[in-house]
């Protein structure tokens, strides 16, 4: 699988831009929106591992994000657990539940897997909504404490929270980059490509798919935990499949199976939604056709399109060089013959 072909200078530039953003924007609301986009991007990066790289459409992803958020909400508000301990537990609890959900649902393939996970997501939603004693039911959990400071760092202001979220975003992407560019990542892509072929190449389907699934739920749990500490109010609605579909839209727009696709999609669509706010529900009239056009003309998403062009160009230049050599070679031959 080709590397994401974003060169180091470009990456450095992006990072500098992200760090400078609060200074340039100088508007708490913009910083808030951007932080939310980053949190959704972390969740989408995780979903992209199982959907984009491994080819399994998991529709319960928002459910796992909700598990992470509720773990933090319940532990901090009802049990007085410090935020960071709850944060770590949130990631691992989501992954732990992911192991069982994965083992069960990955016995099914293709559409059947998707439909099954749709049900898993809805079950998570129902449990959150109905189990009043534990989850506060439809009321949701309010007044979740902001992340507590670490040493001299304080996370009680939008600015500092922005940098906290940015830190986790960079860490998520870095870790994901390691995974997808390794032999393990190649095994994921082989499964997406053809399960039958991957299996005859000695790749254990169940083990590899469950690993991808659990990793993606770990990302969802972390994103949920960040969300809880950032928005500080959560309700059962966040487990609904419509949020999974939002993340799928991020992935499709940015580039399915690309490292930065989910991030690009999350940022673009979040700001598009913001700027179309004045249209209220009518914004779907603009949103829908845009998405259709994108899927028609850029089926690989924006980064996917860019990457495909690069590979094509590289292949063409290899062919050009060979052609030139052939022409030069025959020219020399002609000369020696003369």
């Amino acid at each position: 699988m080709p590397s994401t072909a974003l060169q180091k200078p470009l990456l450095a530039l992006l990072l500098v831009a992200a760090i400078a953003f609060p200074v340039i924007a100088a508007n708490d609301y913009y910083i808030y929106v951007m932080s939310l986009a980053y949190i959704m991007a972390i969740a989408a990066v995780g979903l992209n591992l199982i959907l984009g790289y491994t080819g399994q459409l998991n529709l319960a992803h928002a459910g796992f994000m909700a598990i992470g958020a509720y773990t933090v909400g319940i532990l901090t508000v009802d049990y007085g657990v410090p935020y960071w301990i709850a944060f770590v537990i949130a990631g691992f609890l989501s992954a732990f539940i992911g192991v069982f959900a994965g083992l069960l649902s990955l016995r099914l393939k293709g559409h059947f897997f998707s439909i099954f996970t749709l049900c898993v997501g809805f079950i998570i939603y129902l449990i959150i909504e109905k189990w009043d004693a534990l989850t506060h039911g439809t009321v949701g959990i309010i007044d979740i404490p902001a992340p507590t400071g670490i040493g001299p760092l304080r996370f009680d202001h939008t600015w500092s929270q922005y940098y906290l979220v940015l830190f986790f975003l960079v860490a998520s992407l870095w870790l994901m980059s390691r995974i997808v560019h390794s032999l393990l990542g190649r095994a994921f892509v082989a499964i997406r490509n053809s399960e039958d072929l991957a299996e005859t190449l000695g790749i254990s389907l169940m083990r590899t798919k469950v690993l991808a699934f659990v990793l993606s739920t770990f990302y969802a749990g972390m994103a949920g935990a960040l969300y809880a500490g950032f928005v500080r109010f959560i309700g059962p609605g966040m487990a609904l499949e419509s949020h999974t579909f939002d993340m799928i839209a991020f992935i499709l727009v940015g580039g399915i199976g690309t490292l930065f696709g989910p991030l690009l999609g999350a940022i673009l669509l979040t700001w598009l939604t913001q700027s179309l706010q004045f249209l209220q529900d009518y914004r779907m009239i603009i949103f829908g056709p845009l998405l259709i056009l994108l899927v028609m003309y850029f089926p690989q998403g924006l980064i996917g399109y860019y990457r495909e062009r690069q590979i094509k160009r590289a292949a063409a230049s290899v062919q050009d060089r060979r052609l030139q050599r052939a022409v030069l070679g025959s020219g020399q031959e002609a000369r020696t013959n003369a």
């Binding site: 699988m1 080709p2 870790l175 390691r178 995974i179 390794s182 032999l183 393990l184 190649r186 095994a187 892509v189 082989a190 490509n193 053809s194 039958d196 072929l197 991957a198 299996e199 005859t200 190449l201 000695g202 790749i203 254990s204 389907l205 690993l211 690989q300 996917g304 990457r307 495909e308 590979i311 094509k312 590289a314 292949a315 290899v318 062919q319 060979r322």
Partner: protein
Amino acid sequence: MLEIQGLTKRFGGLTAVRDVTTSFERGRINAIIGPNGAGKTTFFNLVSGSHRPTAGRIVFDGQDVTGLRPDQVARLGVARTFQSTHLFDQATVLDNLIVGHRLRTSSTFWDVIFNTQRLKEDERSCRAKAKEVLNFVGLSSVAHHRAADISQEERKRVAFALALATDPKIVLLDEPAGGVNPEETLGLAELIRKMVRSGLTVCLIEHKMDMIMSLADKIVVLDHGEMIAEGTPAQIRSDQRVIEAYLGADYAAA
């Protein structure tokens, strides 16, 4: 090398393979022929572990492999190709091949997280293997082409290369010359001979009789899931049942 004993596969009321007993010797080219729907591909699916047999035993290299999963069978040294080759079209040919050697490596998820020496070692060996097998099938020149841009015959060769990257002892080829022209078919036949010369055992399904007759050491004929004949090309050519079921009187006369 590969012993098949009373192999049977039933799908509901349909018996796709019925009580087949045969054996394939090491270092030979074995062919399975028969009309469409005779159970040839099902036979491959049983040997490679994709289907679990209803009855019978499969012994590979002295080890009973009946009922093992495809990835386990692959680890023991059984590789196969499919009628249509699924490549990742957006990636280069070389990139497609690197994963083929993954089963001979041992790095785990934690090696990936900590980017250990073992992982780097494994990635080097997989890349080296990919180049080696690409060279073996004569495709080094298209290593950096997009898989989408190569010809049908080159795709077939990439499929061979992918199978070879698993370091197999036996290679099952499902219609290796399907959809390629006669000239290219000769080239693929030569490649199959080269594989055997390098110490492999080959078992192939094919409809191109000229190719089979000149290539195979042993032919097994299936019809409606049953083995109706086995033997050398000369024996098969003159077998009355095979002529009736598959070859036709014309071919026998020729």
